[in-house]
Amino acid sequence: MDAITELSYALDTFYFLVAGALVMWMAAGFSMLEAGMVRAKNTAEILTKNISLFAVACIMYMLMGYSIMYPADMVNTWWPGFGDILGRGDNSVEDVLASGGDTYYSGLSDFFFQVVFVATAMSIVSGAVAERMKLWAFLIFAVVMTGFIYPMQGFWNWGGGLLTGDEYGIGYFDFAGSGTVHLCGAVAAFAGVLLLGARKGKYRTDGSINPIPGCNMPMATLGTFILWLGWFGFNGGSELKLSNIEEANAVALVFVNTNMAAAGGVIAAMLVARLLFGKTDLTMALNGALAGLVAITADPLSPAPLGATGIGALGGMLVVFSILALDKMKIDDPVGAISVHGTVGMWGVLAVVLSNEEATLGGQLTGIGVIFGWTFVASMVTWFIIKMIIGIRVSEEEEYAGVDLSECGLEAYPEFVGSQGSGK
């Protein structure tokens, strides 16, 4: 019996770590997607942001985020306290064997899996504020977001806080984080964009939209495929366990549903774009894939594959309308992150009630309200303080020349285009 417990402990830990590594790879997906959707003169800076935010997220989550989100002894269901900051030890052999299989993965593998999630939430922000934000203002926000804002609302859901805890019993259901990860990241981005304003030249004086095409569609497509791959870890790993027949079947269903939802999202977004614009917009198809993935993330385990395709497809339709609506409101989001992760994140949370009897519409709506409210207010305050102290936006001249030069001092493609000649 002990041998089986040890073996399944090892297998589940291994599964958890590999899933975490897949989610880590999503950082590459976000980098490529964002680098493809901005102008060439802002590419090096967005890449710098992506790799540095990942590092900031890892360090901040180790220092304080993890213990806020998963406290050993919470003060109460809305305030986790700072009791065991800087981590705790891993499970001992005796404890695991004595648990008889209830403790089935390494504590550090859980930390690793969680840390790549917070990096994902932070990656969402970087695309929305691209091409005009100061690099270091963004990184200061990343410190607060990954160390405190995200872990707080993460605690309310997965850490046993007020959204899922027994004390209040709101009964919020969010399997892998349509709300907790994606909506949270999108709302933080939304608050930032509101304070930051649109890119220079995006909206004409008569109010019409002046599109600013991304510089590299192959890269944006590669990024989307990488995210799609990483999502198998994101959702598949969130099952947390693989080592028996039931769990193995569940993981397989999660993989299939995740894949189907993305497929549904692509087709729906393409069809809507074709009907609305008369052309099949690739960027909408890419956003559609991600919308499908975000939509299924709140519950990839309850629907059948056909249902998952439908949930993803509705996400894909929604994302196109959301992108157009935000543009009408002059909320400038170069990569569509707020629509993909925010609008569709909310849809994903609500879609849970379609196939999961445990979830209630009231519980899901409360969850959305709590995540949105907390993240928006906390992010707005943080962005505002940063704006007051060092400013969040580069000067108009620097924006025209490209933030590659003003922030990084180098260009992404020095051999191909001059610093003044790229973009408009």
Partner: protein
């Protein structure tokens, strides 16, 4: 001596080069350029919003030829670059005062 300058559609460059070679033109200079004529620009679509591309990409070919070659050169370019659709381009002919082959110092028609 004349300088024949032709603005053509980029995808016709190979045809024009072959046409000029066939009639004995010894060399051309090619530049990628942008501009507009009667074709004006065209509209493109990005994430649901249209925008106008004012200047279209074209190729500029410059060939220095002897005076008695000018008509043949014009005909060769016209034949090769003609698609019958708007935006085929234009040919300009201007007189050329002097030509020097740098390597040998030859001047005039000998240097062409």
């Amino acid at each position: 001596m004349k300088l024949v300058t032709a603005i053509i559609k980029p995808f016709k460059l190979d045809d024009v080069r072959e046409g000029l070679s066939e009639i004995g033109v010894q060399g051309v200079t090619v530049t990628e350029v942008k501009g507009f004529g009667r074709q004006k620009g065209h509209t493109e679509l990005y994430r649901g919003a249209e925008y106008v591309v004012d200047f279209l990409p074209k190729v500029k070919i410059e060939a220095a030829v002897a005076t008695d070659m000018v008509d043949k050169a014009i005909e060769a370019i016209s034949r090769a670059a003609n698609t019958g659709k708007i935006g085929d381009g234009k040919i300009f002919v201007s007189s050329l005062e002097q030509t020097v082959r740098i390597r040998t110092g030859e001047t005039g028609p000998d240097a062409l």
